[in-house]
Symmetry: C2
Subunit: 400 residues, 2 copies
């Protein structure tokens, strides 16, 4: 496990000042791709180490965001701690942080100081609202970013409340974009020799996914209505009832709809004068739903998934996580992996969504014990054993 | 607009065989960052050109996914068309496609053929389920990927159906991941001199966002319940009623909750024996909600947003898109921009979520007219004017 990573980013050194969610996701992606990620933690550690259900004393939540990193414990409230950080940054390619805007400057690491220290350093920041504008000092949180970005407002039943997504999507999307911005800056640096600042705000990242909902708003001035699981413009579409539960069917255009109805022996619907246009079908939703449900109820979900997929009709089951993780496709795609803790148990976690055939993502390094990389990383940075021991005795660093 | 892009990816040439959503989002991100994106379209064009509300005959939906590209019309059903494509690929850095697995091979561009043509070429594929496994031939669609990935299953009210997100999140997240994988492969190529295949499946991308929901499942074997807009483990948290509507408040831990309640002059709750632990507060949700609502109803949303944010309590409004696009923070972050069509009107669209201070994302090129870049791109590839004219006469290319 300690051998150098072979991913496409091997040789890229990332100093990671992030904690909790958005930033750690960003740096884990970089680590999965082979970067050497050094996670700087305060003496008490990233708070997520103590969160979620523990397995043999180890947090699976922490593990799922921190594989492929080394942990260095450093007290940044002390001058000597900040001096160690500066020495690490002098040799690094990337710094990633997810403090509130202004915190880095209070650590003595404003833009000018960082440029002085290492003009090639790429400085990536993930935050809630961005570092300019009236909300710059507001605290951020995923639920709030979902609300402010317009994302919640378009989700949910027409007669129900706006609905958040349960996963912390704004944190995670910001983390992915930040990793992307970092790599763009690495490529740009080949030409300029200079690093630059990269910033992604959670609200902006989530807003960027509003796709045709935003273009329709710009074109019409109409705020999109919530439509639950139904398509706003097309019917039949949505959830239908089989013998043993529902399946989701996406008849996104007439050609697919025709195949769907023909597979159900309901092909006549498309030429029946009551239903032969989409507006008529939208108006006759309840009748059509009854017709379709009564046909589908006679067979199992598995039956319909087989014949409909074979007919080229996009369809699937609304899977819960137990079903997802038992799904042979998820297994074939290796979307569940195990990664060991440093000196601890191997835990199951999500796999790599980016598949590379030459230098694939891998578990290059275990989930780090708090401070488990401090001695090694400081030695690599040129600190001798005596100095390391003294810094540890003085509580500036933690050796784990 | 025709001057070379100045973004960090300037000089990177991307041949874009994608259409509709996931792939075009990937290549637009690369174009926003300065790559030279050549969108290969069939003679009838990307179907999205005809979708959504038209402004002066131009689709805002198409514009929002295709700025910063040049359009080349090429009939890939003809040998001569595929020959042009091969010539473009010989000099390119990246090919991006979002066909169903196997389609590229049917165009004569299987892995071996592409490697022969250009060993430095990075070949990125975005698809529904991945190119291995039992579902490889299934048609993909965002709604289905939301269902199959477990994402829908965790969203929605406890007593309601599983709830999709209205934006096509699985397409878009796959597109972002694909862009990230491409850039990692570009960086890896510096060391190896070789391109490689990059693949992102919509289901895998969305599954990768399941975060602590998945780690809790792995640790406990319990499928997470739907909790609507409420936090599964903490109360008070969620939507509360002000004089002029609701606000969202994320009291994610006791320290923030204390500040929230003190700001409402309800600080006594934290030491009242009925409410002094989180389990007691979870059990007394209805009472607490009434207490909080009755306090907050006396003042406007604006009032509470000001005082709560100042107190460090994450809170915000559930904004609809009209409110989002009127929000001064969104304006300060330049999240609405205008991009011109080639020979057409400028349209409003979403801005750039990745902020770079040295070589920022920009509208380097207009939204392309169908085939509006064919002549220019073929000339750059060494085709002389007579050959271009003949290919156009024969219907192999379209000059727009």
């Amino acid at each position: 496990m300690a051998e150098p990573a072979k991913g496409p980013l091997s040789g890229l050194r990332v100093i990671d000042l992030t904690r909790v969610l958005s930033g750690p996701f960003c740096t884990m992606i970089l680590g999965d791709l082979g970067a050497d990620v050094i996670k700087i933690e305060p003496p008490k550690g990233d708070p997520v180490r103590a969160q979620g259900t523990m397995t043999d004393g180890h947090s699976g939540y922490f593990a799922g965001f921190n594989r492929n990193k080394r942990s260095v414990v450093l007290d940044l409230y002390r001058d000597e701690g900040r001096a160690v950080l500066r020495r690490l940054l002098a040799d690094a390619d990337v710094l990633v942080e997810n403090f509130r805007p202004g915190t880095l400057a209070r650590l003595g690491l404003d833009e000018a100081a960082l440029k002085d220290l290492n003009p090639r350093l790429i400085v990536a920041s993930v935050n809630g609202y961005g570092s300019t504008g009236p909300y710059v000092d507001r605290p951020a949180f995923d639920f709030i970013a979902q609300a402010m970005s317009g994302f919640m407002g378009v989700n949910g039943q027409p007669d129900g409340p706006p609905m958040r997504a349960a996963p912390p999507v704004s944190d995670l999307i910001a983390g992915i974009y930040a990793a992307l911005g970092v790599l763009a800056a690495v490529i740009g640096r080949e030409k300029t020799g200079q690093g630059q600042a990269v910033e992604v705000a959670m609200v902006n990242g989530l807003l960027s996914l509003m796709a045709y909902l935003s273009s329709e708003y710009f074109a019409t001035g109409q705020v999109p209505a919530r439509t639950g699981n139904d398509h706003p413009l097309v019917y039949p579409y949505g959830l239908f009832r089989c013998a043993d539960g529902q399946i989701a069917v996406a008849n996104s255009h007439d050609q697919i709809l025709t195949r769907f109805l023909e597979t159900l022996d309901l092909g006549w619907i498309m030429s029946d004068p009551r239903y032969d246009t989409n507006p008529k079908r939208m108006a006759a939703r309840d009748e059509l739903r009854d017709l379709i449900d009564s046909r589908m109820e006679g067979r199992s979900r598995e039956y319909w998934l087989d014949v409909l997929n074979a007919a080229g009709v996009p369809c699937g089951v609304v899977q819960d996580l137990a079903q997802v993780f038992a799904d042979p496709q998820i297994a074939a795609q290796e979307m569940v992996i195990e990664a060991p803790w440093q000196d601890g148990p191997a835990l199951k976690m999500l796999g790599f969504p980016i598949k590379l055939d030459g230098t694939p993502c891998a578990v290059h390094r275990p989930v780090p014990r708090l401070g488990g990389g401090t001695g090694e990383v400081l030695a690599e940075a040129g600190y001798d054993a005596r100095t390391i021991a003294k810094l540890a005795r003085d509580g500036v660093i933690g050796l784990g």
